[in-house]
Each structure stands twice: as C-alpha cells, then as structure tokens.
Amino acid sequence: MSHTADDLRTDAQAGPLTTDGLVQLLDPDGNRVPHPQYDERVAHLDADALRALYRDMVLVRRFDVEATALQRQGELALFAQALGQEAAQVGSGRALAAQDHVFPSYREHGVAHTRGVELTDVLRLFRGVDHGGWDPTAHGFHLYTLVIGSHALHATGYAMGVQRDGAVGTGDPQRDTAVVAYFGDGATSQGDVSEGLVFAAVNQAPVVFFCQNNQWAISEPTTLQARVPIADRAPGFGIPSVRVDGNDVLASYAVTAEALERARSGGGPTFIEAFTYRMGAHTTSDDPSRYRPAEQEEYWRRRDPIDRLRAHLEQTRELPQEFVDALAAEADALGEHIRTTVRAMGRPSPASMFEHVYATPHSVVDAERAWFQQYEASFLEGHGQHGEGSAR
C-alpha cells in the first residue's frame, strides 16, 4: 500500500522529524533561550568567543562555496558540501580538547577546521591526488571515511584503546581523552553503527556518537530510515542520548561538552542527534531538485545557522562593522588561497605510497621501496638521455 501525503505529514509530527525535545539555546530569530541544564555549559562564552564561532562558520561556508565552484570548473573530481551543518560541526568541534580524537565521515569540513586542519588539504582527497591529506595524529582528526558508518567501529575501537592506555577518569584534564564519531542519519541504518553502539555500551568506552541528522541520505528522507527520532535508538543499547537543534551553535557546543565530559570521566558513551538540514546537494554529482520540494529548502534557508548567530550578535550589539569587514576580507583571501592552492596541487610522489602502510618500520616495505626507487631512477635516466637527444 502507498503512503498518502497525509500519512507522511502525520509521520513528520510524531516520527523522526519531530522538533520535540530538541535542546535549544538560540531560537531561529537569534534570541537566547534559557535552559536549566545547559546554560552553565556556555556561561563562559563571552562576546569574543561567540564572534570566533561566527568567524569559524563563515570561513567554513566560504570554503564550501569555493570548493563547489572548483568542482564545476573541473578542478575537483567530486565535492560534498557541509552547507547548513556549520553550527553542528563548529559547535561540537570547538567543545573538543586537544587530546581528543575525531573520526569524521566525509562532510565534516567544519570539524576539520576546528581541529586545525588546513582546509585545502581536505581537497587533496576530492581532487584525487591523495588518499588522505593530513596527519591524523597531529590534529586528533582521522582521515575522512567514505564508507558509510564503518568508522563508528573504528572510533569505538580507538576509545577502547584509550581505556586500556588508562587515559580515562584520571581527573587530569590534559590526559583524559574522549573520541567522537561523526556520521549522518543514513549511517544509522548501517549494521556497523549498531555494532559500534553495542561495543561502546558494554565496554563503557569513552566515545561520543555525533549523528548529524540532515534529513537526507542522498535522496532517502529520514522518514524512510526511522519511525521514531534517531536518538531514541541509543537507550535500547544502554547509551544515553540527547537531541539538539543542530542549527544552534551554542546548543551543539553545550551538549557535546557534556557528552565529552561524561566520556573523559569514565561515564561511558553518549549518542547525540543534531537535528539539522543539508541545504546543498548530497555531492556535486547529485541534483536534489529531483526528489525534494523547493518549499522545504526555502523553509530551512530561513533557519540558516549562520544567520541565527549573526542575528544574536546584532541584537546584543556585539557585531561591530570593523569585525564584519575584516571577516569578509579574510573570507575573500581564503577563497583566493583555495583557488590558487588547488590549481597548483601536483601529483604525489610515487614513493609516498610506501609511507603509511605500517605505523612502524617494516623490512618488507623497506625492501619494496628500495627496489621501486631504483627502478624509477633507471627509467628516468634512460628517459632523460632520450629526451635530451630529441630536443636538440
């Protein structure tokens, strides 16, 4: 039997798209909404801190726009926009400590930015010149995982390692470590995410499952992934969960800070559902106008996370024109930097394929590298002589 439009509307009110129970500290008009549990989590964020969050989101969006244009100009093979999810990513990312470790999917450019990853390095992957692009250890930010949901297991395993290293519950804020897995609503339909939840729960691993429910798994709406809010699943595994307004950067920060504290102190895993919206296409290969109504996009455009924080800063008179101008100039410079850097990206050296096979030196890999370098060198010499001869 088929669903009528009326059926779906009922689903939207009672099912996975309900807005009931979302933690919110800024309403869509930018007004600060008091919350008994989470107010204290953001009490220390002064105007400078809010402006810094605003700057993060503006720069990440600019990165998004430039990267999308570069794909359309043939400079990138593919790109996945984070458009609309900046608050969820920046808010949660800024709650992390230096020693924490993140396992992102492929859309977490906002989190990458908060972890100090040079955003153009992210594009090495999308240009197809690198399998990764940055040093995961240096940034506490793992490489992007393109397989949907598999990194929920990697994150859980890493968190169990953190437990075995004794880096949980010591009370030392420099030492206690949390792990975060970022994934989407679609990933929750994958077995790997359920397996990760099982292991995290029974081991009380210091891991936070941060699910950005952007309402679309490519063309599949959340209503075809769940009958109840996605966050409701976690308690069944024995994991506490919270739903947060993912377009509210303050609320995203607050709930993540709480979950991270629970993890670091030995309180076990938490599941966060950040309710947001994928304002762009799934990737540059996708055309969302084929499967979702323009009115829905328009509705969420009016709930843009960046507009919300800007409205708040304007209302509190904390957004001076000099700041806005300087930020615009910084964004333009970033755009230019991205364009020139991406166009200049060369191919990686063939020998680099040997570099990250094992974490420690390995005799077989060393031998293969030596053979390959010798082979390459012989080829280049021969080619060089030949080339010289024909050029003159």
Binding site: V65, A69, Q71, Q73, G74, S285, D287, S289
Partner: protein, 533 residues
C-alpha cells in the same frame, strides 16, 4: 599583454563523458568575475550551472547552445588580462592595432565581413602554414578556405569574400596584412597566447623557414623558437594524404582523424573537403531558420542536414516506441460547447480566478478528471515485461507543450485531487516552466494520461500518438462558431471536436467511447459535473 585562457568542459558528475550547452549567460566582450555563472549545461543527470574560473573579458564562445561536446572540450575563452599592455614585439609590428582585444576585434569586423572568430582562426592557420611549410599564396588560400567553418560563417557570402581576400594576398597585400595585424593574437589550446604577425613579404618567410629547418642543429641555438600549440601537435598523416589535402585545400589540422593512432586518412580528408564545399544556402537572405543553425548544407545548396539530438531525439524515440508497440484506436466526438464558453467567461470575471488564466482547456481537463473518476480503468498502463496491467489510483495529467526546445509533456501531479482553481494554477505553472525550457525530468515522469491542445493552432482534430506508458490521450480541437441544431432550430453555437486515442491492448472500444462521451457531456453541459462530481 592580453592572456587568453580556455575553459574545458568539466565532468560535473562522476564519470560523465559529455554534456550539452543549454544557454550562455555571457557574450563576447562581457566582463566576468571569478565564480560568476557563465553557462548552463545539461548532463545525463541534470542541468548544471558552471562558474567562471577566472575574472576577465570573454573573448570567444567556442561552443554554441544546443551542441553536445565531450568533457575536456574548450567551451569559452576568457582574456584574463584585458588591460595588459601589448608586448614589445607586438607593439613594433602593429600599426594601428588597438590596445585591448575587444576593440581590435571590432576593427577587424569593420574591415572584413568575415566573422571575428573566422578572422582570428584564419591568422592562426596562416601562421601555422608559414612555420611548417613555407609556401606561396596558394597554400595560404587553401588554409584560409578550410579554416572558415560553417559555424563561424553565417552565410556562404563571407566564405567567398574571405577567399577573395586571401587570393589578394598574392605577393604581400597590405590590406590583408593589416587585417591579420589587427586580429593580433591567436591562441593555442594549451592556453598560452601566441603573438601572430602578418606574413610580411619575403624576408620573414625565409628566415622563419630557415629556423624551422635548422631547428635540430646548433645553428638555431640563439634563435627564438616559435611557441608551439602544445595541445594540438601537428596532424599525423602520410605524405600522399598530405599532398591530397594540399590539392584539395584542406587544412589537415581541421580534419577529424579516424585512422589508427589518430592518423588522418585519405577518406578523412575527402570527407572534410566535401564538408567545406558548396556552402551557399538556397534560401533568402535574412531567413530566420534557427533550427538550421547546427546543420550542414549539401553540395548543391538545396538541402541542410541537421543532426538529431536532445529533445527532438527523445521525442522521436518515444513516438516510435509508442506507435509501434501500442495498437492505437482513435474515436471522435463533435460537441456543442457554448455552455462551457459561458462558464469560462463567468470564471474570468470571478475575483477568485483573477490571478489565473481560465481557458476552455481548463474545463476540458476537469471534464477528463470526471470521466476518469467514472471510468478509472482508462487511467492505466500496459506492463509488457511483467505481463500485467497497472491501474493508477492517481492522475498525473500531462499537457503536450510546444517549447523552444521542442515538444515536452510535463504533467500536473495528482490532478485528480485539485479543485478548478488549483488545476488552473497547476496548468499555468507547468506551461510557463515548459516555455522557459526549465521542465525537469521529474516534471515529465510518471504521467498517467495526456491532453494535447491542437486547437490552439486552429486545427479541428487529429489522431494523437500516446505518451509512452499511458493508455489514453485526448486531443482538444479548435472551437468555432458554427450552425448547429439547438432545441430544434439552427443556431450559431460554439462547436469543437474531441478525439481520444487509446491503447487497444487494455482499453476496449466501449471504454474509450464512454470516456470520450463523458468528457463531451461535461463540456456540453458543465452542470453535469454536479451530477457526477
């Protein structure tokens, strides 16, 4: 100095190999900014806007709308440094050359009726010949004729003129040389700019050829080598083929090679030669026939062959599929629609309908909805693969629309649930979108039944071909005032003809007749809708 960059068509999806240029948003001479939308393309997946990679001034549009090109084909050329001063060598050679690209182009077109692109390419072609095979005017003229492609010369006249101009080169025609100078710059596909000088008589030609001949030896060590178009190396061909090309006046670089390893064959040269001949179109000057634009004129100038693509291609495939799989039967009905016309007039005066266009078609659409409600079996499809008949419990009402890009049949979704006002709005939106060429694949998919309004062209009726996947299509003819027996007397009444084609595999004559009779009954007496509504 001006720096020309060519933008190759990118792969806007994953692994797409080609796309059609739908519409340019910029023209030659326009200034563009980085990331400004310059063109809309249609891939196998969707319509995509492409942003400009550079800021600058558009110097050439290389692919015309409606053309499908492979990924990697340069589609536009942008001068990224239009204010830049000409280089020293350029300055010394150019008497009266304009400082920026656009001005110099206009000066060319003032002197020469040949199109701008033709002129620039022409210089490039001559230059190539000068460097590779130093020769007299014959070769240059030959190159000239081959370079003028049908796309760049709107009529044969300019080609003739160009030939004459090239012929005039004989020794050292100052007029032609000046034209070459003013064109100033030809570009290579590699993106680098090549300064082009007109062949100034004798001396330069000698020294240039010498340089090329001694190009492998030490004698050339001090000489400046002419930058070569890295992206387009010299065409590969065997000596007899080169000779043939020279005899036929075909520029080998303009020939699409089909031989192994990209070699130009004898057949390729002959085909290119045939293509380049007889370009005079046997129509009156000023004829507005845009559909001929992408065609090739036959040798005698009496025919134009236009490649079948895009909407035309899809239409043809759909019509062939439909006509030769579904046995079509058409039934007709002539009906007095005077009362429908009165209803239309009344609705037009109704404030609630002030914002929509009320037409007899709207009432016909509503009448068809009522008929479907009474005979839902008509709203169905034949599933050959499954050997099943699919009855649809919704009506997506297709409207055949003539658009600048051809026939499209978008449909109003769930038309059976719409009141008259919403239906009017739905029809208006759909036709406006279609006329603007913005109908999306989703708008056209999953239609269940269609109306074709042949009446707008003044036609009485026809035997329409089914939209594939549907079981019936209604043709709505022109409404005319005619003598008609009304209440026993001959009166002037509004009369129209209706025709319903249906798929006889699943719709019997009786069902088709009843559906058409119901549509006619409502149009004859709209109050009937109350009885059936």
């Amino acid at each position: 100095m001006p720096t020309f960059q060519q933008f190759p068509l990118p792969d806007a999806g994953e692994g797409l190999t080609e796309a059609e240029i739908v519409e340019w948003h910029v023209a030659v001479g326009d200034r563009v900014e980085v990331n400004q939308t310059i063109v809309e393309i249609e891939t196998a997946k969707s319509l995509v806007d492409l942003p400009s990679p550079w800021a600058g001034v558009v110097s050439q549009i290389l692919v015309q709308p409606g053309t499908t090109v492979d990924v990697g084909t340069p589609i536009i050329e942008i001068d990224t440094d239009p204010e830049g001063a000409p280089s020293a060598s350029d300055g010394s050679a150019s008497e009266g050359s304009a400082p920026d690209g656009s001005a110099s182009e206009s000066s060319v077109s003032a002197d020469e009726p040949a199109t701008t692109t033709g002129a620039v390419r022409h210089v490039g072609g001559a230059e190539r010949h000068r460097g590779v095979e130093p020769g007299g005017a014959d070769e240059i003229e030959a190159a000239r004729a081959a370079e003028v492609s049908p796309e760049s010369s709107p009529a044969g006249a300019s080609a003739h003129h160009v030939k004459r101009a090239a012929a005039g080169l004989g020794g050292s025609s100052p007029q032609w040389a000046a034209a070459g100078l003013k064109a100033g710059v030809a570009t290579t596909s590699g993106g680098a700019a090549v300064e082009v000088r007109a062949p100034d008589a004798g001396s330069s030609s000698g020294s240039e050829s010498g340089a090329v001949l001694v190009g492998y030896g030490l004698a050339d060590a001090g000489a400046t080598r002419r930058p070569r178009a890295t992206g387009t190396p010299r065409a590969l061909a065997k000596p007899p083929v080169r000779k043939l090309a020279r005899e036929l006046g075909v520029d080998l670089d303009s020939v699409t090679p089909t031989g192994p390893g990209g070699i130009v064959t004898r057949e390729d040269v002959l085909a290119r030669s045939a293509q380049a001949e007889g370009r005079t179109l046997a129509t009156y000057p000023g004829d507005d026939q845009p559909w001929l634009a992408s065609g090739t004129v036959s040798g005698d100038g009496r025919q134009t062959r236009v490649p079948v693509k895009s909407v035309r291609k899809r239409t043809a495939e759909a019509m062939v599929t439909s006509a030769f799989t579904a046995p079509h039967v058409t039934v007709f009905h002539t009906v007095d629609v005077t009362r429908t016309m009165r209803l239309v007039e009344r609705l037009r005066a109704d404030r609630e309908f002030a914002d929509v266009r009320v037409t007899p078609l709207l009432i016909a659409a509503k009448a068809l909805m009522l008929a479907i409600r009474r005979h839902p079996e008509i709203n169905a499809a034949w599933d050959e693969a499954a050997q099943e008949i699919v009855y649809k419990h919704y009506v997506n009402l297709g409207i055949a629309a003539a658009t600048p890009r051809g026939l499209v049949v978008p449909n109003v979704k769930d038309a059976h649930r719409l009141g008259l006002l919403d239906l009017a709005q739905g029809l208006a939106d759909l036709t406006a979108t279609a006329r603007a060429g913005r109908t999306s694949p989703a708008d056209m998919s999953d239609g269940t039944i269609t109306i074709t309004n042949v009446g707008v062209f003044g036609i009485d009726t026809g035997t329409p071909i089914l939209n594939p996947g549907e079981a019936a299509i209604l043709a709505f003819g022109a409404i005319r005032e005619q003598p008609w027996v009304h209440k026993g007397k001959i009166r002037v009444r509004h009369v129209t003809q209706l025709a319903l084609s249906f798929d006889h595999r699943l719709v019997d004559g009786e069902l088709g007749a009843r559906v058409l009779a119901d549509v006619a009954a409502v149009l004859h007496e709209p109050a009937q809708a109350l009885v059936w509504g």
